[in-house]
Symmetry: none
Subunit: 211 residues, 4 copies
Amino acid sequence: MAPRSKDKRKKIIQAATKVFARHGFYHSKVSEIAKEAEVADGTIYLYFKNKDDLLISIFEESMDQILNLIRGEIETEPDPLAKLRRLVHLHMSMMERNPRLAEVIQVELRQSSKFMKEYQNVKFLAYLQVIAEVIEEGQREGLIHKEVSPAVFKRMLFGALDELALQWVLSKRRYSLADVAEQVTDIFLHGIEVAPSTRIVSLPGVAVPQA
Amino acid sequence: MAPRSKDKRKKIIQAATKVFARHGFYHSKVSEIAKEAEVADGTIYLYFKNKDDLLISIFEESMDQILNLIRGEIETEPDPLAKLRRLVHLHMSMMERNPRLAEVIQVELRQSSKFMKEYQNVKFLAYLQVIAEVIEEGQREGLIHKEVSPAVFKRMLFGALDELALQWVLSKRRYSLADVAEQVTDIFLHGIEVAPSTRIVSLPGVAVPQA
Amino acid sequence: MAPRSKDKRKKIIQAATKVFARHGFYHSKVSEIAKEAEVADGTIYLYFKNKDDLLISIFEESMDQILNLIRGEIETEPDPLAKLRRLVHLHMSMMERNPRLAEVIQVELRQSSKFMKEYQNVKFLAYLQVIAEVIEEGQREGLIHKEVSPAVFKRMLFGALDELALQWVLSKRRYSLADVAEQVTDIFLHGIEVAPSTRIVSLPGVAVPQA
Amino acid sequence: MAPRSKDKRKKIIQAATKVFARHGFYHSKVSEIAKEAEVADGTIYLYFKNKDDLLISIFEESMDQILNLIRGEIETEPDPLAKLRRLVHLHMSMMERNPRLAEVIQVELRQSSKFMKEYQNVKFLAYLQVIAEVIEEGQREGLIHKEVSPAVFKRMLFGALDELALQWVLSKRRYSLADVAEQVTDIFLHGIEVAPSTRIVSLPGVAVPQA
DNA sequence: GATGAATGAGCATTCATTCAT
DNA sequence: TATGAATGAATGCTCATTCAT
């Protein structure tokens, strides 16, 4: 029952990621995944319960890796604000380095969230929790406003990153996601509003110095 | 097109929204939509090219409505910041009032953006453009930082709203989205960081006044 | 939902009977049945729930016909013994006239009795019941021994007829089943034992008159 | 073949009998048989050509045993009629002692007779032949009517026994087959008809002595 | 001999779409 | 316009069998 090799499982996961990214989950054929992985159709079923399980496994294992990487990396940052900046940067650069995985996660996660309603996406929730914890830490240290709800913020941030990564994927990755990451952090940390005290009213016909 | 026909088309759109929300696009059967709309299976093909076209039409028409509503409503607001606040609020309350439509847009939009890569989702882009224009207006008026890229911001904001609405849909709508809208605006407008000048270091054992 | 024609259903039943007789239930392909019936594969599923249902329907409808025929025919017979003789004859001649149906019933009934354990084969039981009732009638009229259990006898008779019909089917129907029917009735009615009183002991070397 | 191998073959046969009885031939998996026999899947193919061969072997070997047993046992009986009675009794008690084997023979034999049309079921034919020989012997001795065709009778008897045993198996073996055996012999030996000379007409209102 | 991971042919069933009425 | 019976292409999954170890 225990399949012979770890390699084969990995090859199937990689092939499935590739194929799902190419055609989308529903339009992907198990036989194409098998061909891509250079195994027989039936072999896939030695490692995965069914096609759905394959998709779920891609998520779980990717999320697990991302989670571990991020947890390790942000630990070394000096304060919660720096951690947040680092987290955003890591998220985007991981997507940038694994565009096919990005595509699957971006495009299929929503779809799957439907058929995985019962399935508790533990890994994904853990990922969001990392964000929430950084916020809470920042609040305890007086660096982040107490009014900010960690539960709302974690989803806002993820949603923003997710949408930007999707756009990047769909645009055929023609620009740098890392640059985008900077802007995201700036906006979330400072907001977009010019503070009223420093505001300079722009009057028509009058040249104004730019901030 | 006779008025009678307009009704039928509308009934089909509504039935499809209901059914797509219930089962997701791929698991929805045309025959079930027909039954729900109280028309024959074949009748659907008199109004829509195929199943995909049905999904696209739901988007287009909903987006159109949302777009028109938002454009009209924000026009009356005094300044770009108020417009932004109003836009966020409208987005969320529309979702709140049309949960089934919300579900289709939230859950199926991503999926569809994949299989409809060629199809340019004009209405959706127009919606994003409204956001960008408000930002540009704010920047011209000196109310919004010049460094903020409207192109990036519009997707960040949409992504954040989208994710929060999805969460709300999946949570079976147990809380108020309108309340969430407030928090979103606050964070985007003010950021989450406590300004260094006003920062109060929290020292153990020393009671500190809260901001 | 209600399919257009009675004819189509009948054609499918006949095609299935043919194909099941040719290859056996498990080796028959739905697509071959469809081809034989000159309908599309999917059409079969408008009339039958699935492949099993097709087999069950063949049984039910055949049994129903046989049952009705037999009930009508034996009614006209003067006494229970004549009814029994007629019943056996009818059973065999029906098989003889519908060899393919015979093959399905003979060969697949047993197999199916396995997967139809839950399914109560009402028609078959009704058929057996007809036999039992004739026996009971004969016992009331003093024509049949009281010790004979109708419940046992009905299965004995059916088993005997069934086995003989099977053999006839498998032998490529090279002899007359009607003739066999006569022998069956004789044996069941008179037994095989020569009554002791009329017994003539056969002595070696002594010619004995044959009965 | 080493003694060790004989054991393994036997274990496989027994496991297969068990599994076939449980699920029927077509729904039984070779892997389940292997598990039941505590051998590897591949091992089965060292002893049997394929799954069909496994079924055939069960028949052949069981029939062989039954045949030898019956031949030995009936030899000691004084006359053909006693031999017949004994044969029926032995058949039923063997089934009663090996219900799983009974199930396979009863339920799967028919099915198999189909897909094994080429395969001549020599052992089964030999079994039937034993019956025929007893009849012929009885006819030579003047104990059995000359008109009875041994070829027809052997199948009638087998069919009756088979059907009764099947019914017993399907009824979850809730009654004694040995008792049934008695009735079968009585009916076949004496018939069911009350001899006209001894017939007592049952008149309403008149008490009649029961035979 | 024994193993069990790997193979891949095989097939029932679904459902979007058509078209005769 | 409207119908809905008929179509038939499309595919996930099973499991008997093989063969390298």
